[in-house]
Structure formats: structure tokens, C-alpha cells
């Protein structure tokens, strides 16, 4: 973009060529959310996976594992709205979310999912404690078991239905990344909480979940092409590395020594959980980096026709 400069000894005060952005300023706004949000993505996702374990274990006859999964899921279902309330600033604001039902808003659907999920899990726990018949407990657990996997990846729809280039660009694959990660984290929390000899299924979930999570993340990066840059740079880039190292180490440890050593199962589970949390953090952070540089947005809409070296039309 070297336009011919006007002759003469004066310093050129006006930039030549065609500026491709407005002083490099962002076009879309960066997310206005606070630190609680990526943690919520993690707690909600893990609880969602655990709720599926709870009902399916009942069905396959592993009652003890099922009950443990339900209690862990309930913990997640209690922490999640607390995080959301903290982000929103006031408790009644969470209730305001439930005053209307708006199918065009993934956040509205998600709030209803979370509310239904939490209440059915809580009710199942209560019904079990007071000794109501198995059908009642099972039905409530089943409701949570259906809502759980939705809870685990509606957040990917929520992020995908925005103007943020990196979230939008990866939006059909992100649900698979979140699902895999939730499966791994659910398994990992059972590895940490339960005895080793009961944890075959939990260990399988860690391994299978990690494979799905890692493979779909790679696919998402490949699909994003140059838009994936924030996943390699800065804070988000560091979190991706942390996520990969931690998740892979956790799954390896669990699959090799997890069945024999309780310590290995706990350490592997902790690493997997850390990896799953780091995944949500890196996806969240990447959204900030993607919004900050207008080049990503312009490239995504112009088909990468812009020259990255010419991104600033500022005046001397």
C-alpha cells in the first residue's frame, strides 16, 4: 500500500494509502461480563454431565455411583446461580430472567434450563431423603438428566449467537467442545470423590470426554483459520496451553494408573477438572482479544482480503 508520496521537503502529515480501520479501534464491543461467567460455564457444564450420570447409573444398576453423581451435580447447581447473580449484581436480577420466556434469546432459554435443572435436582435429593418411592426420585432425576446435557452446551449457543468473530466463527463446533469437556469433568469429579474400585465408568468418561474435547477444539481452530489467532496469542493463548497440558496429563494419568492407585485417580481427576475450567477461561478470554482488534471482524466479513500490515489509519 505505498502510494506515491507528494514531492517536497515537508513531512507528510496525512497518511497515504487506504486505511483499513478507524485508528485501529474496535468495531464490536468486547464482552461486558465479569470473571464469574467462565466459571459458571465450567460449573454448569460439569453439573450437567453429572446429572446425566445420575439418572443413567440408576438405569444401569449402579445406584451408589448415581447418588454420588447427583449430589455433586446438586453442588454445581447451587454454585452456578450464585455466580450468575454475582455477575448480574443483584439477586432479583436472576429472578427477572424468569419473568418472561423468550425463545429467540439463548440466555432466556438457558436461565429456564438452569432453573429447571436446579429445582428438579434439589427435589430429587429431597424426595430421596424423605424416602419417597423410586419412581418419584427417578422422574425428578430423569428431568435433570435431560436438562443437564442442554445446560452443558447451551452456553456454546449463547456465545455463538453474537457478533464476536471468534465465537461466531466456531459456533457450530463449540457445543461439541463443551460437551466433551463436561463429560471429562463429570468423570473426573467422580474419580476424585469416589472409591477407585467403583470408578471404571468415571475413568472411561474422562478418557472419552477428553478425546472429544481435544479433537473438536482442533477442528474448531482449523475451521476458524486466521480468526483463531487469539487462541495462540496473549492471555487466551496461554490458557489454551494450560488447558491442553492439564487435560491431557489428567486423562493419561487416569487411564494408566487411575484404576490401581487412589492418589493417581485424585491427581488425574484434579488435572482434568483444571483443564476443563481452563478451557472455558480460554474461550471466554479469546472473545475479548477477538473483539479488540477490528482486523478480525473485517477479515471475517471480507473473506480475509485485508492487509494486516495496514490496519491503522492514524494521523501523525
Amino acid at each position: 500500500m505505498k502510494a506515491e508520496r507528494p514531492s517536497g521537503g515537508e513531512r507528510q502529515m496525512v497518511p497515504s494509502g487506504k486505511p483499513r480501520s478507524y485508528y485501529g479501534l474496535p468495531i464490536v464491543k468486547r464482552p461486558a461480563w465479569t470473571w464469574e461467567v467462565p466459571w459458571y460455564l465450567f460449573t454448569g457444564g460439569t453439573a450437567g454431565g453429572l446429572a446425566a450420570v445420575s439418572i443413567l447409573a440408576r438405569w444401569t444398576g449402579e445406584a451408589k455411583l448415581g447418588r454420588r453423581a447427583r449430589r455433586l451435580a446438586l453442588a454445581g447447581a447451587v454454585i452456578s446461580p450464585v455466580l450468575l447473580i454475582s455477575d448480574l449484581g443483584r439477586p432479583e436480577r436472576f429472578l427477572n430472567m424468569l419473568r418472561v420466556f423468550r425463545p429467540t434469546s439463548p440466555m432466556s432459554l438457558g436461565s429456564w434450563t438452569l432453573a429447571g435443572f436446579g429445582s428438579s435436582l434439589g427435589a430429587a435429593e429431597m424426595a430421596d431423603i424423605v424416602g419417597l418411592p423410586n419412581v418419584v426420585v427417578g422422574t425428578l432425576e430423569g428431568t435433570a438428566g435431560i436438562l443437564g446435557p442442554i445446560l452443558a452446551n447451551y452456553t456454546a449457543v449463547l456465545l455463538g449467537d453474537t457478533a464476536n468473530p471468534i465465537w461466531r466463527g466456531g459456533r457450530t463446533i463449540l457445543p461439541f467442545v463443551f460437551s466433551g469437556s463436561s463429560m471429562a469433568a463429570a468423570g473426573a469429579s467422580l474419580c476424585v470423590a469416589g472409591p477407585t474400585d467403583e470408578g471404571v465408568a468415571a475413568r472411561r468418561m474422562v478418557v472419552l470426554g477428553t478425546i472429544i474435547e481435544q479433537a473438536s477444539f482442533l477442528l474448531m481452530e482449523q475451521r476458524l483459520g486466521p480468526l483463531a489467532e487469539p487462541y495462540h496469542d496473549g492471555a487466551a493463548g496461554r490458557l489454551v496451553k494450560l488447558h491442553r497440558a492439564s487435560s491431557l496429563a489428567g486423562a493419561t494419568l487416569i487411564s494408566t494408573l487411575g484404576g490401581r492407585s487412589r492418589k493417581a485417580a485424585i491427581l488425574g481427576g484434579a488435572l482434568t477438572l483444571a483443564g476443563s475450567a481452563a478451557l472455558r477461561q480460554c474461550v471466554y478470554r479469546a472473545g475479548f482479544q477477538s473483539a479488540a482488534d477490528p482486523r478480525y471482524l473485517v477479515d471475517s466479513q471480507r473473506g480475509a482480503a485485508t492487509d494486516p500490515g495496514d490496519g491503522n489509519g492514524s494521523v501523525t
Partner: protein
Amino acid sequence: MTAAPTARRPAVSLPMWQGGGTRMGFFTDSSICIGCKACEVACKEWNGVPDIDTGFTGNSYDNTSSVGANSWRHVAFVERQRPDTGDGVQWLMNSDVCKHCTRAACLDVCPTGAIFRSEFGTVVVQDDICNGCGYCVVACPFGVLERREAPDGRAFKCTLCYDRLQVGDEPACAKACPTQSIQFGPLEELRERAEKRLEEVKQEPRYAGARLYGDSKDDGVGGFGAFFLLLDDPEVYGLPPKPVYRRTDLALLWGAASVAASVLTLGVLGSLSWRRR
């Protein structure tokens, strides 16, 4: 409707305003913007938009930087070489504003219904209903919406002076604009006027890059209620070149999410039931 007596109304009032049905909007003609920022000031005054300490950016005469919660109009300034002759300065100035999209992402994603479509076809946030969730902020393809941190993080943007429209007056910015760079009126009429204006502007060689932005119903957001005549690519003014929002995309997204949810359930089931024995 058209036969209704209009004599008592102010001259600017059009018969169909009250009943709804006529979509009102802005046509911002950047070719005659002189960068006076009267629109920014009038908007702040009328709408009680808080003062912000912008500091000194060094970006030409622009210290406002962008449309946001506390700047509902924003005049962009670009100083550069004249593209046709290669010497001398060309000024690009444009007063940016909420586009009042035909398919408004902000309105669709709002979980409380705080954002609504008015009888004038404009997009308005009801600030007493807004829950401060921040979803519209990331959803808007133009980066218009923003949370106002103090006192409680609710989102604010241009209302196209809903209160003034209701009493038959025109928006404050359009009224204050001394060159009629900001024109307010029925959208259909503005579109026709803009076509003609574009023909005129393009006669000048230095304005060869002139184009209308957001005037077409076939664009990614179904056309803007507030559209522009620009002298260069939208990104030069800090605007997205091809903004997109489609509600129908949700089917694709929820489809992917449903498959992913099934993968999760089946994975758990497989892990539980697969026996080595």
C-alpha cells in the same frame, strides 16, 4: 389516514406517525457532514446522556471514539490524502448512530424483553426493565450497545428520540444538524432521496468511492432504519463491512447443540454400560 386533518400539528409531523405503520429513520449523508458535533451535543442535552471524560486521543478531532452507552451519536474524523489527485487533504466525517436494524440482534437476544420495536419501527431499550445482563452488548453487530457502569450496569443506546417522536417532533440530532447531513423521515422516502443524492455525489471524481450503506433490505440485517451515504469502505469509518444477524441461524446453532448434548448422553451411557467382562 392521509385524509386526517393535520393543520394543528407542527409542520414536521407526518399524518401516519401516530398510528404506526410508517417506519421512521435517519439518512446520514456523510458527504455534507462538517464535523461540528452539534448532533453529539444535542443528543446528550436532550437525552440526559452523562458526561464522560474522553481524554485526548490524538485521533484527528475525534475524542468520542465510538458510539456507546454515553455517546449515542459519534462523529468520526478521517484526515487523509485526496484519493484522486494524490495531494491535498481529504476529510471524511460521519455521524454514527444505532442502526435501528430491521433484524435487530439486540432485540432478539434480550432475555427480559427490555428491548422492543416501537410503533415507528425503531429499536428502543426500556431502561427500567433492563436487567444489565450484557448480552445485547456482544450481540450487536455494530458495537452500539454498552453497559453504563454507574450506577448498575444497565445498557443504553439511541432511542431515535422516542419521546420526541411521540409528540410529533423530530430527533434532537437531526434538528440540530446545520447542514442536513442528518435527515429524519419516513424510511422509504429517505431511501429514494438517498439514491438521488448518491447520483449527484458520484459526479465528483474525488467521491468515486461513494456508496450507500445499510439502505438495502437484502443486507445481513435486513436493512438499517438509520442508514448512511459513505465516501469509502465502512471499515474506514469504524463500521462493519458486512454486518449479519439472522434469527434463522438459531436453528443451526440449536441443532448443533442438540447433537452435542446427545453425544454427551451417549458417551456417559456407553461408559456406564460397556463391560469388559
